[in-house]
Symmetry: C2
Subunit: 346 residues, 2 copies
């Protein structure tokens, strides 16, 4: 069988600040012949997340940094187009670490460790398995569980219009909490309040964002679903109530910043973790694979009942992935951000 | 009855850096006549702790800042010398918020909220009720319980020669952990290893303290009993293992520093709380009054059995309290630091 040409990104240097063309090279390469036990997967959708940026840096993360000159790491959904395995016939849909490439030649260990076969027939559109029914929805669920907001408590979530924050706030609202989002720009704030049903949303682009946050949390803050880090986290720390909980999900303010001096260059309120007897819990979705089935089931029910809203931003063309990732850090996207790489074959 | 003259400290201004004479004025004042329900307590020992410095600042702490011109807040043990209460006869020994003064005229609400009558006869020397059998011993016990070190895990404690750290490390060692202290100076490090039985101690005054800490924790760090904050905490963050626990007991590096810009002016490794899925728990001993009896009982047994060592530094004379407090931050004391204010009357 004649193979198509693969188009892909290789990491050539670790970016400082925004990812430049020279950091992540876009190129064409031939696809090799398949060995026994391998499968060739065509990527259909690729997930773009803040963590993608972490993997490019030398930060000691929860996975090792992507090696220089390697194909960029990424989670996608794809379709098997050629297979030398009985358990994975051509035409199957899978989710896993496809990488930032059109064709992923996966060997047995890759397939067993980091791919999941999607149900046939598909119960929901393919790309939702990268979002609300995938890692981001499960992350939101876990973080709300850790924060455990009680009725009447004040729950704050940063990146509230994003893939995780938008789901987290809705789940907290369903528990009876007073839910305050933080998002970038008036349009996103309107979306968070009017369409997602949060009680308030603070525009972090406004000069008076600190005042807005103070006014929206007159009784202090009991749960901080922390996605941001940096100065927003610091201001929240200064408003925590005794016994507050912080599910620590992300520190996006840091990810784009490899300058050693600048990393959290000042959280003067960090001592409030002590003064208010705060419980802070860092968590990563991939530690909880044993609960994915249970949680996806609950989210699927909420979607069917119409009690949970979600949004996805689908950008066409793998060649746009690099520039689109940069928009996450300038706050350009709403909901889950995915790249559409291709259409499935029927 | 003719009252003696009281000698005391009043807070006149909030210190920046070290506490100066003009911040905390030493003066003489008459003692008022007692009203019904009041008792006059003569301070015998006064506890000096890092938190004393916090109370002088405007920091939003777990107790409100001491008001300007008020008597400086402090915990002491004392003896009732005059009483207009049936439940507190003259001669009784009490522990509580005596303040930095020789005579404390306590009214009913003070006595009920913040004083404890000590057992008669006393089972241990008076000043131990400010140390190993008081707040510092209980704090160590609670923090080790929160950190929950398992046999073979690596447990690190800063301020290891201090009142809390010295007890915490010994309790962790009894659980079978590999215990590494951090202390200031070769003499304190020798004490921590040779006399307290820690496995290693890092001299934070040495130029190569980071290398020392790396070598002493070859398997990474599982529990950080955090007393220090600042650059020591940051280096520890960079060596945490997945699933590490941080009982957050103090951030002394901050307390002497009221410069807003300088407060935690850089914890570049803070993101490791996320990456290593860390559980950080701020705790304050006074939240756990319901467990004091149980914990003091356990510590008293360990002292009797000789399985727990402690040291106290007793400085004579209340007039030396201000200068002695400053030595805590320059690392001058070992074990629990108390001021001896006077001798009991028999």
């Amino acid at each position: 069988m004649a193979h198509p040409t693969n188009r892909l990104y290789r990491l050539r240097s670790r970016p400082r600040g925004k990812v430049r063309d020279s950091d992540l090279e876009w190129l064409e390469e031939p696809v090799a012949d398949l060995a026994e036990g391998q499968a060739l997967i065509r990527t259909l959708y690729l997930s773009l997340d803040p963590t993608s940026r972490v993997w490019m840096s030398s930060t000691r993360g929860y996975m090792p940094p992507v090696e220089l000159n390697a194909v960029m790491r990424g989670v996608g959904v794809g379709q098997v187009v050629e297979s030398r395995r009985d358990d994975l016939p051509a035409g199957s849909f899978v989710q896993g670490f496809t990488g930032w490439q059109e064709y992923c030649l996966a060997d047995a260990s890759d397939l067993e460790a980091s791919f999941t076969v999607l149900p046939d027939p598909l119960p929901a559109p393919l790309h939702t398995f990268l979002g609300v029914l995938g890692h981001t929805g499960i992350t939101a669920y876990l973080g709300v569980e850790i924060g455990d907001p009680e009725p009447g408590e004040t729950f704050v979530v940063s990146a509230a219009a994003g893939a995780v924050g938008s789901i987290a706030g809705q789940l907290a609202k369903q528990r009876g909490a007073q839910v305050v989002g933080i998002a970038g720009g008036a349009e996103k704030c309107r979306y968070v309040v009017d369409e997602l049903g949060f009680d308030a949303c603070v525009d972090r682009h406004a000069d008076d964002w600190r005042d807005q946050l103070d006014k929206a949390t007159p009784l202090g803050i009991d749960v901080d679903f922390e996605n941001a880090g940096g100065k927003i986290m610091d201001h929240i720390l200064g408003r925590l109530n005794v016994g507050a909980r912080i599910p620590l999900c992300g520190m996006v303010a840091d990810y784009n910043n490899d300058d050693e001096e600048a990393g959290h260059a000042g959280l003067p309120n960090l001592n409030q973790l002590l003064m208010q007897r705060v419980q802070l819990t860092g968590f990563i979705v991939s530690d909880h694979v044993d609960r994915f089935g249970e949680i996806i089931g609950k989210i699927a029910v909420a979607l069917e009942e119409g009690t949970l809203r979600y949004e996805e931003t689908v950008v066409e063309g793998l060649e746009n992935a690099r520039d689109t990732l940069n928009t996450i850090f300038s706050g350009g996207s709403r909901g889950k951000l995915v790249i559409k790489v291709g259409d499935p074959e029927s």
